[in-house]
Symmetry: C2
């Protein structure tokens, strides 16, 4: 029997084991990712906090996303996700940063169809993005995007642990 | 028959009518308040974004809450709620700011019992705090605190409208 552990609790465990902390920057998920992380008992040991940069210009002003990038590609782009993750990691003084940007619908946005989602990960070793294509209604896409960000964190940190020979 | 309109949608309407915007700073609700505001279709017209300052020092570093106040009273205090609301309003360039701080449990914190909650409101006309005493488990207290913040906004803006003779 494998014990069922919610994704957010798995992230909390992984961070505890590393003596590390996490901060998140949200756009389409707007608070859902933070709410899942705060739900874990003892969250304050590993969760620093979050920024919901719902207005596009806040992605630049607060999180330091390149304005030229936003002007050319709009907020729904893998590089924006990476810069949001790196920006919130720096702004909140955390070891790792996670981010979400995308189109929850019901309407397409900036030429991207509903369900386009980019997730960002940032850590001491650099940044990367994951770009799942999600389906469902607005609420479902937002919930799956938050879940995807937690999965991205776990996949990357597990891979790093294996590469280091500790897993 | 009175039409049922969720609190967050009522807040959105009130803001639209004023040509105003809102930003929120969350502690114990950690994303729940932002998530409710983003849930409203067309939210981007009135909702700027949010900061979850879960780590106490972020309340000072990011939101400008007075460090002496935090040192003397801890993060669960009406003045902290007011300064969080004013700080996020300024940081995110919004007309109004709303905030939550308190003890969701299961353990008391800094001498405050579970269910102690302070909600902050900030606008062009100044700041105020509401301090409901909430009961229930951790999830219930967090949900009621988010609801309380929306009610505080509506109560205050409706009162201001009546005082101005427009309601």
């Amino acid at each position: 029997m494998t014990e069922y552990v919610p994704l957010a609790a798995q992230v909390h465990r992984e961070l505890l084991g590393r003596g590390a902390t996490l901060a998140v920057a949200e756009s389409l998920t707007g608070g859902l990712l933070a709410a899942q992380l705060v739900d874990v008992p003892g969250a304050s040991a590993t969760f620093r906090g979050s920024v919901t940069a719902y207005a596009t210009e806040l992605k630049a002003e607060l999180l330091g996303v390149d304005e030229g990038l936003l002007a050319v590609h709009g907020p729904v782009h893998p590089l924006v996700a990476r810069q949001m993750a790196e920006g919130v990691r720096r702004l909140l003084g955390a070891t790792y940063g996670l981010s979400t940007t995308g189109v929850a619908g019901p309407e397409p946005q900036d030429g991207s169809p509903v369900g386009t989602v980019h997730l960002g990960f940032a850590g001491p070793e650099g940044t990367l993005a994951g770009s799942p294509r999600l389906s469902g209604d607005r609420a479902t896409i937002r919930r799956r995007a938050a879940q995807g960000a937690l999965e991205l964190f776990l996949a990357h940190t597990a891979a790093a642990r294996k590469a280091a020979g500790a897993g």
